[in-house]
């Protein structure tokens, strides 16, 4: 994790600013509100790789026509337990929040629901949506596929996206349990950053063009699935599961067939798929007993003895600590992102949020 200078602003002010920029790029009010909500949520939890730093990507996609500015999101009930969301090539954030709402409605009467989302685009951090379900008292499993940057185990060429898995459970005392993890060891951003800083990569996270493990960020041609040289077949197996649930089950393409997120081609519809499962926990167990078990589990886990200088944490705990800090002291925005957003603000006639402090922001 590298550090550098930036500014801090109030989260609500950033959210309003991002929304105004996205409206400035032509998006509908509801599309803009969804992307601003998701990016702010991620940044407030220090998931900066999927936070407001991504705003320019979406602004460019909207302007170029790759992302539809005013999509007609359509929701169909395919079966008593399944809803399908057609995102109509609009922002994936809107389709995903809508899918969670529709899934919750189905889970209320059915006990659980599958939500398949097709014709979508990049939706930021998948954990934003499982978290939205948990905030309403529902557990959720979430996945998305993405364009290929991760090699198969023993492969030499990218085939999978980082294909994240997220799982959230509501907790009556405190913040939800929130897992949100790529099925690769590191994100592509880490490689790009190390190219800037010249620092080597950790071992067994990337391969060169011949498929050999490399720690040289310039030689890195693809990422490696979670598990590295010996156990990468497990991370790759999870990537397969995510890829299929988000493609064959949603009617979309698998990761290796998708256009590049980072490439120059921003006009081709992304045709991404997402997949969620919503659980009404009180349909499984009595509400009070379930709540007590979750609280007891988390207390037991967090009380486990740790290596010197470390703590045993539950999934999401680092995010909740960041949220507390950023709620109190503002959201840090790195200087490069701040400058780019400022230029868009000028072009679209939007007003940037007040700077409440200079900040040492992290970037990973």
């Amino acid at each position: 994790m590298e550090e550098f200078n930036g500014v801090r602003c109030h989260g609500e002010a950033v959210e309003a600013f991002v929304k105004s920029l996205v409206v400035g790029a032509g998006a509908s009010e509801e599309s803009a509100a969804a992307v601003a909500r998701a990016l702010t949520d991620a940044s407030m939890r220090a998931v900066d790789t999927h936070g407001v730093r991504l705003t320019p990507h979406y602004l460019r996609g909207l302007k170029a026509g790759r992302i539809k500015t005013t999509p007609s999101v359509r929701i169909d009930r395919l079966a008593p337990g399944i809803v399908h969301v057609d995102a109509d090539d609009g922002l994936g954030h809107l389709a995903s929040y809508r899918g969670i709402e529709a899934g919750i409605a189905v889970a209320r009467e059915n006990g659980m629901a599958a939500v398949s989302i097709g014709n979508s685009t990049h939706h930021g951090a998948t954990g934003c949506y499982t978290l939205a379900a948990a905030r309403q008292g529902f557990a959720a499993l979430g996945m998305t596929n993405a364009d290929a940057i991760v090699a198969p185990h023993d492969g030499v060429k990218a085939f999978f996206g980082t294909n994240p898995i997220s799982f959230a459970v509501p907790v009556t005392e405190g913040q939800p349990l929130l897992l949100d993890m790529a099925t690769s060891s590191i994100p592509l951003n880490r490689v790009l950053l190390r190219r800037d800083t010249g620092a080597p990569l950790p071992p067994e996270v990337a391969i060169d063009g011949d498929g050999a493990m490399t720690t040289d960020p310039f030689a890195a041609a693809a990422l490696v699935p979670l598990g590295g040289a010996n156990y990468g077949y497990k991370g790759a197996g999870l990537a397969v599961m995510v890829d299929l649930l988000c493609s064959a089950f949603t009617g979309m393409l698998h990761g290796a067939q998708l256009p590049s997120f980072a490439g120059d081609n921003v006009t081709w519809p992304a045709r991404l798929g997402h997949f969620f499962i919503i659980f009404d926990t009180k349909a499984f167990q009595p509400q009070q007993a379930f709540a007590e078990r979750i609280v007891a589990f988390l207390a037991d886990l967090r009380a486990q003895p740790a290596r010197p200088g470390e703590r045993v944490m539950a999934p999401g705990d680092p995010e909740w600590e960041a949220l507390a800090d950023r709620t109190a002291n503002g959201m840090p925005i790195d200087a490069a992102t701040w400058d780019v957003l400022g230029a868009f603000a000028k072009a679209y006639g939007c007003v940037p949020p007040a700077v409440i402090a200079t900040a040492t922001a992290h970037r990973d």
Copy 2:
């Protein structure tokens, strides 16, 4: 993977033999048939750690009363999309196969189904049950919790079971896609075997009593989650998900509260939970289009360029190669297991299967 001598027998003959032993230990016909089916299925796919080698464990559990010989498995529909199976402290194999059947029935009308199983015992390899669903044309996600042998990330003491995740999808041309992976890097068996052979463990798969990584099988006090020293929080996060879906959602205890599978106490009910999700794929997408996408995905994956001397494989491919070999040449059974099973056969008046060849069996 270590090699040693054993025998080879026809799979069907082994299945009948195992069933006769389990009946000999007092179990009901249907209980015995379920465990024999699962153990034979695992062994035929070379998942020997969860194959017929486990038979003595179940025989002892049945005799000691930890596993009920004639359980009354009860199935309740908790909601339109949820069935709960009460295993009544019987063999987990019976409850799991029953749960898959009940889940398929629900998925046929509902599109999908959650199957929560409580009051269960060790069910062998979770992949046996997702595979059973795939053989009937349904995709399935499966999990089980287990007694604690895996430390939390940065922890010094076992807290999670190996908490496997399995995912199976039917394939119209060829065998199903079948992922079945522990959320630790290695199974406990690997440590025990290395104590026999004296060979060191791979790096970053186990810790000593102070929480430091160790390759000494005698110093190993707990396993490490998938991801090792740097990314073990991801494997641990998956272990949390499995643990909660199999405990809080099923009404059972979490892994750290369960009695030891390997310990001397074989009288306490195991109180294990399992969790499955069944998907009727044709409720998501037109049947033919779905089938074609799966076939195309697998062809694309298997055709990916590989490092010299390697092949890119789909989840389950090594198992299907083993199945072909073992169907043609018989199932290898290691000499130690063969001797123990022979002693039980003598005690119960059962007839061991014919030996069709001596074999070099592997044990990992």
